[in-house]
Symmetry: C2
Subunit: 380 residues, 2 copies
């Protein structure tokens, strides 16, 4: 059968033709009024998606760069921080903080479960000198969504700042930066923003700026003070990834046209359809209690290797889903419903899973995943 | 819901990225060794797809141009010809022949039915001075496939040449030009050849060349003698559509890699899945007896306007199927399974039809079309 590539990974996600064509236009120079206007427009667009009036700075880096920027700009030597680690990306906060020799209290959460905000409250009470709490809105390795709204409520009362890795969740999960009171949000380009990897962003509240003022950790490329100084002249301190910024302008235009609330609702519906379909074909969700609408992590039954499902889809159909990470490798697979995706992408994914699972001898009623997805997707 | 465009029309058909990228490269000049090499390669590729050693010439025109070339080059004033007319494109043969004041005997066939080859045999017996028989391998307006193999057997014994419009069928239906003994085959670029409209081709047998030698009808742009003279120097008489030829090189490469027999088998399987799914959701096929694997024409039940189905798919989902033509307008819709399409395109089309038909109040069991398609597509 003729293969077409279907990218259902939680980043990179498919890039819409509108953006591909914009990025294919002849490159322009960045120290020009033309580019400055684009940079301002894109930054304003990101604020709209973040639902914030706070400053946002764009880096030419992967999302991890913006995570490092958060650590290096907000903290000072000897600071104590709390890092919620319930997956590969939660652990990354801990790793970055440790690389800067910050005193990290890891708040370990079982992979597949969400942190209980009350535990954070308890930590802040027990250790009032905690300067920052590092969290992950959607933990991409497990598909778990964190209750950032409640956590923000708790931290508001405290000296600590709340830092949220929204890399995979921005433009997919509800995220009301100002209303909830989030101090720092980091994001990446190859997820809900629907462009290729290469851009990251950081959003900074007044409370976070105060920490930045006194931070003494070393930084240069990711120095937010430098970024702010340049941005005050509608500029970037270093050469920006020009074509990616231009590509992002195109996808932001699409998000604005659809409306951020509708974009979130779409992800919600796609996620719900995927989860119901997965259960209908006798599989279990890893994140049963607090599933994200970004990616669905699926447990495979005894006797089936999850990596084999990933490989089969790839080699037979050129359909790319993700396997498990860390100790979940072989035990789960992950299907994204993120970014430039609609109902028919879910239908393709579920159909391909039905085909592959039948081939691997998994017992379920053929067509039931598709029917279930239809019922969710087409209900009023 | 976010819309993505899905083109399920019987031409233009989706263009694969490999070809889009090739056509986006800087244009080259055509009177160069570089282009001559490409033209030769593409022409050889078309011969492979036609399964012929006969000459093939490429025109910069739509398929209708190559149809006119067939008429104008093969016939002479006062010639009598037989034209099988069982749809819009069969009728086009008659219209072109009449425009050249050729004496046309129309062999009228009910739209949705295939011509009985025995009737052609009878005509040739009754009117032995018939110089050519004009037929259509797939009648795109009805989705009917003509039994060209049997017709070719009959005509072989006769002085007449067999002319086949394979515009929508080339690269989708079985077509063994040399083995079956077809004298003239015309094709177009925006169908099974998977590139945009703008190129057509004509394939000429020795028997057809003899008619060309003596033809006295007026022609210039579509003059096959001129085309042959130029092609003997690896050239075209007029400026060719350079980027389309380069795009065609890319899709021919894909067809060769898949193998023409596999390409035909793929269309057969997609067509079968579509037909079975259509019946599973309580709709009827227009071409029940001799359906093509190019496009499926579907009758809608009383009380539903087929144009409404076409419009709904377009406006709600950006899915493009075709309505009925001529007197079938409003009574049928047509879904293509042609060219750069695979199993998941069928799944999308069927899912979208289920959604739309439910919305219009048609009675059927939701999910049954999808299940039926899965059973056909994934059977060994």
């Amino acid at each position: 059968m003729l293969k077409k590539r279907y990218l259902l990974t939680p980043g990179p996600t498919p890039v819409p033709p509108e953006s591909l064509l914009a990025m294919a236009e002849p490159i322009i120079h960045h120290r020009t009024d033309e580019f400055r206007k684009i940079l301002l427009e894109v930054t304003e667009g990101l604020k709209y998606i973040h639902q914030t009036k706070n400053d946002i700075f764009i880096f030419s880096s992967s999302g991890t760069g913006a995570m490092e920027a958060a650590v290096a700009n907000i903290l000072s030597a000897g600071d104590k921080v709390l890092a919620v680690t319930g997956g590969k990306f939660g652990e990354r906060w801990k790793e970055i903080a440790e690389a800067y020799k910050v005193d990290v209290i890891p708040l370990e959460v079982e992979w597949g479960k969400a942190v209980n905000p009350e535990v954070i409250k308890k930590h802040l009470k027990e250790t009032p000198e905690i300067k920052a709490v590092f969290t992950t809105l959607c933990e991409t390795s497990t598909g778990v969504k964190t209750d950032i709204k409640t956590i923000a409520e708790i931290i508001k009362e405290h000296e600590a700042v709340l830092v949220v890795d929204a890399i995979s969740a921005l433009g997919a999960e509800e995220l009301k930066t100002d209303e909830w009171g989030i101090d720092v949000v980091v994001a990446g380009s190859q997820k809900g923003l629907m462009i290729p990897p290469g851009l990251s962003s950081i959003c900074i509240s007044e409370k976070a700026y105060k920490k930045i003022e006194t931070s003494d950790l070393p930084k240069y490329y990711f120095d937010i003070k430098r970024a702010k100084k340049s941005f005050d002249k509608s500029d970037t301190p270093w050469t920006p990834a020009v074509s990616l910024v231009i590509g992002l302008r195109a996808t932001i235009k699409m998000i604005k046209e659809e409306g951020i609330e509708n974009v979130i609702q779409r992800h919600k519906r796609l996620g719900e359809a995927m989860r119901q379909a997965i259960k209908a074909i006798n599989l279990e969700l890893l994140a049963e209690d607090s599933p994200s609408n970004v990616v669905t992590a699926v447990k495979v039954p005894e006797g089936i290797d999850a990596q084999e499902i990933v490989r089969s889809l790839r080699s037979n159909d050129d359909i790319w889903i993700a396997g498990g990470q860390g100790h979940l490798k072989g035990k789960i697979f992950r299907v994204a419903h993120l970014g430039y995706m609609n109902q028919y992408d879910m239908i393709i994914a579920i159909c391909a899973l039905e085909k592959t699972l039948k081939g691997l001898g998994h017992k379920f009623e053929l067509g039931k995943g598709l029917l279930t997805a239809e019922q969710v997707l087409f209900s009023q």
